[in-house]
């Protein structure tokens, strides 16, 4: 059967990464199925952000390879878009310029890229804030701008580096619900780094648990029963609660 290979949007094969003498990743292999959301979950220092940046092409691996749609990654590409933990918005640029920036760098004409940006600004619920500057927006709204920027370049793979960790709890819950809708409607592959067990179980089709020193995939968990349920009832689902408990049990010994 060869179908498993083609169904993977991203495949990581035997990746090693060292920072000087520190071994960040050792012989890490992982598949990310197309159209699904995979979380990288683990304690801090387990290399999950490093892995995401290697997939993004922002960091070189020491050895091993990353395949996106079967093609090896040598740097950033149009097939991947990144959502940053600290939003990475340009403070001197308005919302619309920030959202259109990915297209601007690709040389898309101004009127065209602003039309696309307007569409995604509305899609993330920021209509009316097109001409606001980042310092005029709340943390949650800033990350919506970051998300709209990633969506507007229409990449097949969305790489999200702890995107909700810098926003408040209520906003984060709303984001998580919105993300579920996005995964269903956008037909993209999502790679999602998080340190929150609840968040990982809530949003993921597949949770990869990474353990540190050296980093490796210890377990892959695929929630089954509640994925198609209503967003409101997931948090009360027995399988959801069991998985959160189970993951905590396997991670707790690694937390100082």
């Amino acid at each position: 059967m060869n179908t498993t290979i083609t169904e993977n949007a991203v495949a990581v094969r035997n990746v090693y990464k060292n920072y000087g003498d520190v071994e960040a990743l050792r012989d890490l292999s992982l598949d990310f199925p197309k159209g699904q959301l995979t979380s990288l979950l683990g304690p801090s220092g387990c290399g999950k952000t490093t892995l995401l940046k290697i997939i993004a092409g922002l960091l070189p691996a020491n050895s091993g390879e990353v395949l996106v749609n079967g093609q090896p990654v040598s740097g950033p590409g149009p097939d991947r878009a990144f959502v940053f933990q600290d939003f990475a918005l340009m403070p001197w640029a308005s919302t619309i310029r920030n959202v259109a920036f990915g297209l601007e760098l690709r040389g898309v004409a101004k009127s065209e890229r602003e039309a696309v940006a307007e569409k995604y600004i509305a899609a993330v619920g920021l209509k009316g804030f097109e001409n606001s500057y980042p310092h005029e927006l709340s943390g949650g709204m800033r990350q919506r701008v970051g998300l709209a920027r990633a969506l507007s370049v229409n990449a097949e793979v969305l790489l999200m580096d702890e995107p909700f960790s810098a926003v408040d709890e209520q906003t984060r819950r709303k984001f998580q619900e919105d993300l579920l809708g996005l995964v269903q409607n956008e037909n993209k592959t999502f790679l999602f780094v998080t340190h929150s067990i609840e968040e990982a179980v809530y949003v993921s089709d597949q949770v990869a648990i990474l353990l540190p020193r050296p980093s490796r995939v210890s377990e892959i968990i695929r929630p089954q029963g509640f994925r198609n349920k209503d967003v409101d009832s997931i948090r009360r689902d027995p399988e959801y609660l069991d998985l959160v408990d189970k993951i905590w049990a396997s991670l707790r010994s690694y937390v100082e």
């Binding site: 940046k53 940053f84 340009m90 403070p91 001197w92 640029a93 920036f101 370049v153």
Partner: protein, 255 residues
């Protein structure tokens, strides 16, 4: 509306306070060589009316404008290069640190020997005063560009040129402009210093001539005029920054 009025009122108060203190100090008097504010204002008016102030500035502005333009352009370019390239930083930064700390007045005779008493030497003095702070500020700001903004530029397929022009320079611009403001004020000092130390021309001539004939009101009028011009120019620069990089301006531009 109210806050805008308040800013203007407070600035007026500050000016009245300063000129009041000047007037009182002149009337005590702190020194027979220190005229009152109103005497200086009258002398200023005379200098304006007989045209000597305008002739003086036509002369003084030449080295000043040329020097400030050279310092601004090359200062930002060299600073950018230093900020982007470690090796160039080690090679070039010490020169500007030396320039910044050197006792310029003592070096002027050397410049005169090398470049004569003309415009070239005066432009040099302005540049030596203005350039180091522009270069060092620009370099520091470029080096401190947010790593995640640069990663963002790479992740969204920006070329090296895109990242420099669209991310590094705009993000460094507040500190670059701060350096420009400091550099330009230093350039004003340099222009007057050159006229006092090399050949008395322009405003420097009014200052040294009025001092030599004990016409202190004219001397202070000339000194004050250069300060006023510098302040006006700095405000202009601040407005330019506010216009170019709107979102970087988190508070209102002062006026």
């Amino acid at each position: 509306m109210f806050t805008r009025h308040r800013a203007v009122i407070l600035k007026l108060c500050s000016a009245i306070f300063m000129f009041g203190a000047w007037e009182i100090a002149g009337r005590i008097p702190v020194s027979f060589a220190f005229p009152t504010f109103f005497e200086s204002l009258a002398a200023f008016w005379v200098l304006i009316m007989d045209g000597s102030m305008f002739r003086a500035y036509a002369e003084t502005l030449k080295p000043l404008v040329i020097g400030v333009l050279i310092s601004g352009f090359f200062g930002i370019a060299i600073g950018l290069w230093i900020g982007l390239n470690r090796a160039f930083d080690w090679l070039v930064s010490p020169i500007f640190v030396v320039m910044q700390t050197a006792p310029l007045a003592a070096l002027i005779p050397l410049l005169v020997m090398a470049y004569g008493i003309g415009l070239t030497s005066k432009v040099f003095v302005v540049c030596i005063m203005a350039m180091p702070v522009i270069v060092l500020n620009t370099a520091g700001a470029v080096r401190n560009t947010s790593v995640s903004l640069i990663e963002m530029g790479k992740a969204f397929l920006g070329t090296r040129r895109d990242i420099i022009l669209k991310i590094i320079l705009p993000s460094a611009s507040p500190v670059i402009f701060a350096g420009l403001r400091l550099g330009v004020s230093a350039g004003f000092i340099g222009a007057i210093l050159a006229e006092l130390k090399i050949t008395p021309t322009g405003v420097g001539d009014i200052i040294s001539y009025s001092r030599s004939i004990a016409d202190y009101p004219s001397m202070y009028a000339a000194i004050a005029s250069i300060i006023v011009l510098a302040v006006l120019f700095l405000n202009l620069l601040e407005r330019l920054e506010g216009f170019l990089f709107k979102g970087n301006r988190k508070t209102l531009v002062s006026d």
